[in-house]
């Protein structure tokens, strides 16, 4: 809970409110009024808040922290009004099961409060002077720190004027705008493609816009992910995107999903949406989104980019066209084609393809003529050569044909197997000893492995494991094998497991 108080903060009472029988600890941060700021001696100060925004945004921060760090209790109270030296200006408390999350969460909340909330302080100096400072939110927006101009005014514009130019199109009109307002679109990936997609769809007035992105912002994202500011490196991209879109268009509802999309959660995450926009950067998620789109009848607008080129594809369940697997029945193995991280990409290429995706989403929602349906559009921005390629349904497609072998999104099998789970069926697995040669020589396994391949010799982008899956990886304690199994799963090897407990556990398998 986030609150704004005009009366003194009572830390003892606040502390009591944080009690929770499941909590193993409690971390508190108190912000005090100090006697100096930037070389000037401060006598007293006044806090002023734009309360409605501060409270809703403050509660969003608390909710985010609660989810991200698994908090049991979280509370923040900020003072407004006149404060004397040593008075408490802000109080943050979090209770958690373990101390690590408590320290991290407390830090996250106070930093976010300082950074995101429209709260200003006016310092009164001993020389009789005074000044407004500390509105980091305004400073970040590049606004002058003037009392009169520093307020975040709630928008007074009307929806009619916001969308006027678009409603003016005869194919859109009020009726079209209404279709957009009722649309539910989930954008998966707030990166290079997601940046233009999200901005254009938000500005177009998509009523319910979901952002699914599990990553934090990295410096190497900035040249193409123009939704974000350089100063925000390290922060949650989904949250940053939601803030930006809320500022861009106050008339829409934006939902953030900060977990990564997986086979375990995808069905639940897409349930509320009619259109999925695939702005991801890996085959695993792209194929997963295709399968869920086919099986749960969602439109899928997909783009992928490579250096100076890209491709655009639409799957429409209402149209008898192909899906991704009609063309590529099997997911390409990792390493056969490079990713952006490996081969590089020009930022503006992502801008072009993300914008094309946004256009296709709008064409489909507004039912405009000549929308992409079943065809794949290839465009090379170096030669400006393009191909719009026709494709047919594949009669043996593994997901959309009558011979489909993928009929539901099955939850991912756990990566770790216990010795007891292997009783009587150890022979079904290709046992791979990933210990270094010295370790393997020092304590040979009780059964002969199908393959000896030290973890250091396994390269995900150049995989040479020439035994058939399923693979059971074994190391000394089960840590390296688990790590490697997870990495191999992510790289597209589905049937790979790690023996929990490592080599000693193998002795217990009957």
């Amino acid at each position: 809970m986030f609150e704004v108080w005009s009366t003194p903060l009572d830390p003892a009472a606040l502390r009591v409110s944080m009690k929770n029988v499941e909590a193993g600890g409690f971390v508190v941060f108190e912000g005090w009024v100090r006697n100096h700021n930037e070389g000037k001696t401060v006598e007293r100060l006044e806090y002023e808040a734009y309360e409605a925004v501060a409270i809703s945004e403050g509660n969003a921060i608390i909710a985010e922290a609660t989810e991200r760090f698994g908090l049991l209790e979280a509370r923040c109270v900020h003072r407004v009004g006149s404060l004397e030296l040593e008075d408490m200006a802000v109080w943050v408390g979090v209770s958690t099961a373990h101390r690590g999350e408590a320290f991290d969460a407390c830090r996250f909340i106070i930093d976010s409060v300082k950074h995101r909330l429209p709260i200003w302080k006016k310092e009164h100096y001993t020389d009789g002077d005074s000044g407004w400072v500390n509105c980091e939110r305004c400073a970040h927006a590049g606004m002058a720190l003037e009392e009169a101009t520093c307020k975040h005014n709630a928008p007074t514009l009307s929806e009619a004027s916001y969308y006027a130019r678009q409603i003016h199109l005869k194919e859109v009109g009020q009726a079209g705008q209404e279709k957009l307002r009722n649309a539910r679109v989930l954008v998966v990936g707030a990166g290079g493609l997601g940046s233009p997609v999200l901005q254009y769809l938000a500005a177009a007035g998509i009523g319910h816009l979901g952002i699914c992105e599990g990553d934090g912002l990295e410096a190497s994202n900035l040249h193409r992910q123009i939704l974000f500011d350089a100063q925000s490196v390290g922060e949650s991209k989904a949250t940053l995107a939601a803030q930006r879109l809320a500022a861009l268009n106050p008339f829409i509802t934006v939902t953030t999903i900060t977990e990564r999309i997986t086979r375990n959660n995808v069905v639940k995450l897409v349930a509320d949406y009619d259109v999925l926009v695939d702005c991801t950067d890996n085959f695993e998620t792209k194929f997963l989104l295709n399968d869920v789109a086919v099986l749960h009848k969602k439109r899928l607008i997909q783009a992928s980019i490579y250096q100076y080129e890209g491709q655009l594809f639409v799957y429409d369940p209402k149209h008898d066209g192909p899906c991704v697997r009609c063309l590529w029945p099997e997911m390409p193995k990792p390493g056969c084609v490079g990713s952006c991280a490996e081969v590089g990409v020009l930022g503006a290429i992502a801008g072009v393809f993300g914008t094309l995706q946004a256009v296709e989403v709008l064409k489909h929602l507004l039912d405009l003529p000549d929308k992409l349906q079943g065809d794949t559009f290839f465009l090379d921005l170096l030669s400006l050569r393009s191909h719009k390629v026709k494709a047919e349904r594949n009669a043996t497609c593994p997901v959309c044909s009558t011979q489909a072998t993928i009929t539901a999104i099955e939850a991912e099998a756990p990566v770790e197997l216990d010795a007891t789970e292997l009783n009587g069926n150890l022979g079904d697995y290709a046992l791979i000893d990933i210990r270094e040669r010295k370790e393997a020589e020092a304590s040979p396994l009780p059964v002969t492995p199908a393959l000896r391949c030290p973890a250091g010799d396994i390269h995900l982008d150049d995989l040479h494991i020439d035994v058939p899956e399923p693979w059971l990886l074994v190391c000394t304690r089960g840590m390296r094998s688990k790590y490697l199994a997870l990495a191999l799963r992510k790289a597209g090897c589905e049937k790979v497991y790690s023996l929990r407990g490592g080599a000693p556990a193998l002795e217990q398998v009957k």
């Binding site: 990936g189 950067d281 191909h387």
Partner: protein, 82 residues
């Protein structure tokens, strides 16, 4: 064997490995499968044909489709960047 003039297009990794995005050449290949095998041999492409799609005159086609003079043949690897 009949010699045909074909326009060949390359995308993504193949464009990089070939060093150009389009070329016109004469070939005796009867199918895109034969054509790709010859090009792969000549230019040292790292991808096998089963990792690619072939487009002939703006439609995805099977690797054993007969080639005709003047065909526009484009080889396309999968890409996943975002």
């Amino acid at each position: 064997m009949e010699t045909k003039t074909l326009t060949i297009g390359y995308y993504a990794l193949l464009r990089e490995q070939r060093g150009l995005s389009e070329e016109t050449l004469d070939s005796t290949a009867a199918t895109p499968g034969e054509l790709y095998a010859a090009l792969k041999n000549e230019h040292g492409f790292s991808l096998e044909s089963n990792q690619l799609k072939v487009v002939i005159n703006d439609a995805f086609k099977a690797w054993d489709t007969p080639l005709n003079p003047g065909d526009n043949v484009v080889f396309i690897p999968p890409v996943a960047g975002g």
